[in-house]
């Protein structure tokens, strides 16, 4: 994963609450077997609407999504994160997120910055009144800078550290393979296994 330290880009105000992952990318777009090519499915139901924010300049080239509460709830599909990334988003700012979406983002390298609902309102207002003016998200400082103003955001220490270092989770865990072996040696025998296959015939 690439390191993430800070990002500057155009903010996109998405004034909707409860944008679940089915709305971020509907199921019919989940058939690909790659991590790329999902941008076409992003917000598919709304993309035909000429007034939809991503269909208006300069938001169409935005890279920072300012989302409403409960963004990314619902289905666990990581494709929602890939679709945002494939489209060009690097950061999503919001007040409340679905747990699985947040964790998927951390793994895939999309920064999810949590702020208060009041900050979301301010950022929406800024993005709408100053279309095309960029915003800077500094992960080191956990800060968002817009014009003269600056806001703090929250992210858990562990995810922040991993994003800053560009760490691969699997390699980190495999450094503890000895502890996993040790744990496995203590698992009770009655725990089920999928192999050998048993079936009702």
């Amino acid at each position: 994963m690439d390191k993430f330290t800070s990002h500057t880009g155009i903010p996109v105000p998405l004034r909707r609450s409860n944008v679940d992952t089915d709305q971020i990318i509907p199921a019919v777009y989940l058939k690909r077997i790659t991590r790329t090519g999902f941008e076409d499915g992003l917000f598919a139901a709304w993309r035909n609407d000429p007034d939809f924010v991503l269909n208006t300049e300069p938001y169409d080239v935005g890279t920072v999504l300012i989302a409403g509460p409960d963004f990314g709830t619902g289905s666990s599909r990581e494709h929602a994160v890939w679709a945002l990334q494939n489209y060009g988003f690097r950061v999503v700012i919001g007040a409340r997120f679905g747990d699985i979406f947040r964790s998927n983002s951390g793994k895939a390298g999309l920064l999810v910055a949590q702020v208060t609902p009041e900050v979301v309102e301010s950022l929406w207002g800024f993005a709408e009144q100053n279309p095309g003016t960029v915003i800077t998200i500094d992960l080191e400082e956990r800060s968002i800078t817009v014009g003269e103003q600056s806001f703090d955001f929250e992210i858990d220490d562990y995810t922040r550290h991993r994003l800053l270092e560009g760490l691969d989770d699997i390699s980190s865990t495999l450094r503890h393979a000895g502890e996993i072996d040790q744990y496995e040696s203590t698992r009770p025998d009655f725990k089920p296994a999928a192999l050998p296959i048993r079936t009702a015939g």
Binding site: D20, L30, K31, A45, I100, A108, L174, A194, L195
Partner: protein
């Protein structure tokens, strides 16, 4: 101080604990399906890694499979490639797979319990948010994304921060005609779709204890719909009886050892939960959704609410948007809403008990002219069981379609979809905009309400049918 059920299960799976790091949790069972796994297997391949424990991994095909003509190649080439990719990955990495046409194929959360491989005290994950279903057995079970799928394949562990604990205390007898589905829909409308965020929830109380495993699974299934990390229930005799004799149930001495351990899996008397919610089950009536998230529900006997019924500005805006999308007018009695489609199936309500309940309503009846009804068993074995009981014939005689097992219209990934503007009564778990097809409108209901609605063409309960006669 004692421990909660979820703390006991969690603590028994901690491989490693370090300051300022999430716990590294051991995973007892990893369920895999075709949609959220291809990129994970590809990641393993690129890094030259293998699946650490193929024997704790189980794959099936469900989300993107057809429910018609399953003996022929999948018509959509992109879907076919996705399913073929899972088959190839399973073969290459030595993972057990139940493919379309196999008797053990089915929705991933139906087949685990059915095989008896879902057991108390386990940690279970799957690249699917409704993995919470397995919590009904006293397991910590939750959905993960594809990067985490890869992590579990490679290491059989997951770094996880310890969630907070919540108890949902459910007391009282469910009135006649009220099911576990009505209960969980009522719960979600009470606590809101974000109410469980950050928590593992334990459902407890006399109502839970008197439910069948099927009913318990329906409730745990929808834990994610109110944002909970996972939902679980203490195992008891009902649980043990359900597992006993299933293909992967422990046998002999191992059974005794297992049951002895399983009996310890309950919250201690002196625990405190971070939050508690109380539900009086005896006051419930059939419950249905009117909006576009599972928290937007009302009793079937109520009217479509008005945005002005809400106080939170976000809820008001969400209600306005939902009414517009659903093409509903505030004040309309829910019972006057007509549907063109009824979907009976999914990992929420696609088990044999659900099919029996719906068939008992439909026996000797005809569904309304204007309604198409899809009955999609949750697994191939549920289908076979239903056929051995003659339920398929009840559905067919009533004018419904009898399909092969899979997710089907629950998520509208295969051809089973709503057309734009179509309205469904669905026993599944999500009424999101476009969930069952672009522009489709979904009312979440119980299997009993689904069956009665198919007959009248309007949202109805079986009691309404009796009154009409």
């Amino acid at each position: 101080m004692g421990k909660t059920l979820s703390e006991k299960v969690w603590d028994a799976h901690v491989v490693r604990q370090a300051e300022r790091e999430p716990d590294l949790l051991y995973i007892d069972l990893h369920l895999v399906h075709e949609v959220t796994s291809p990129q994970a297997f590809e990641g393993l391949r690129m890094a030259g890694r293998s699946v650490r424990r193929p024997d704790l991994t189980l794959a099936t095909e469900d989300h993107n499979t057809p429910t018609l003509n399953i003996d022929r190649p999948i018509a959509d080439p992109v879907s076919r490639t996705q399913v073929d990719t899972l088959r190839k990955n399973a073969a290459d990495f030595g993972v057990r797979i139940h493919s379309l046409g196999d008797k053990d194929q089915g929705v991933v959360h139906i087949i685990g319990p059915q095989l008896g491989i879902t057991q108390p005290g386990m940690t279970i994950v799957c690249g699917d948010s409704h993995t919470s279903t397995h919590g009904a057995f006293g397991a910590i079970a939750f959905g993960i994304g594809t990067s985490e799928v890869e992590h579990v394949l490679a290491t059989q562990t997951l770094p996880q921060s310890r969630p907070r604990t919540m108890a949902v205390n459910i007391e009282g007898d469910l009135p006649d005609g009220v099911t576990a589905k009505d209960l969980v829909l009522a719960l979600i409308s009470k606590v809101g779709t974000g109410g469980g965020q950050g928590y593992i929830v334990e459902y407890r109380g006399s109502t839970v204890e008197s439910l069948s495993m099927e009913g318990r699974m329906t409730i745990c299934n929808m834990s994610i719909e109110w944002g909970a990390k996972a939902g679980l229930m203490a195992p008891d005799e009902t649980t043990f009886n359900y597992i006993m004799g299933r293909p992967h149930a422990p046998e002999g001495k191992q059974w005794d050892a297992a049951v002895e351990y399983w009996r310890t899996l309950r919250s201690d008397d002196d625990v405190t939960f971070d939050r508690e919610v109380d539900i009086d089950a005896s006051a419930l009536t059939p419950f249905v959704t009117w909006g576009t998230n599972p928290g937007q529900g009302v009793p079937l006997g109520a009217d479509v609410p008005s945005p002005s019924d809400f106080t939170d500005p976000g809820d008001i805006a969400a209600a306005e948007r939902a009414l517009e999308y659903m093409a509903l007018t505030a004040g309309t009695p829910m019972r006057e809403i007509t549907v063109d489609t009824v979907f009976l199936g999914s990992c929420t309500n696609g088990r044999i008990e659900d099919l029996r309940l719906a068939a008992s309503v439909l026996r000797g009846e005809r569904i309304a002219e204007a309604v198409r009804m899809l009955v999609v068993p949750g697994s191939a074995r549920v289908r076979l069981q239903a056929e051995s009981e003659g339920l398929d014939q009840v559905f067919l005689d009533a004018g419904a379609e009898w399909r092969a097992a899979g997710c089907s219209m629950c998520l509208g990934m295969n051809p089973d979809q709503l057309a734009p503007g179509e309205r469904a009564a669905s026993t599944s778990n999500r009424n999101f905009e476009g969930r069952q097809g672009k522009g489709g409108r979904t009312h979440l209901v119980s299997p009993a309400v689904a069956a009665a609605t198919a007959i009248t063409g309007r949202l109805s309960s079986p009691a309404d049918l009796a009154l009409a006669r």
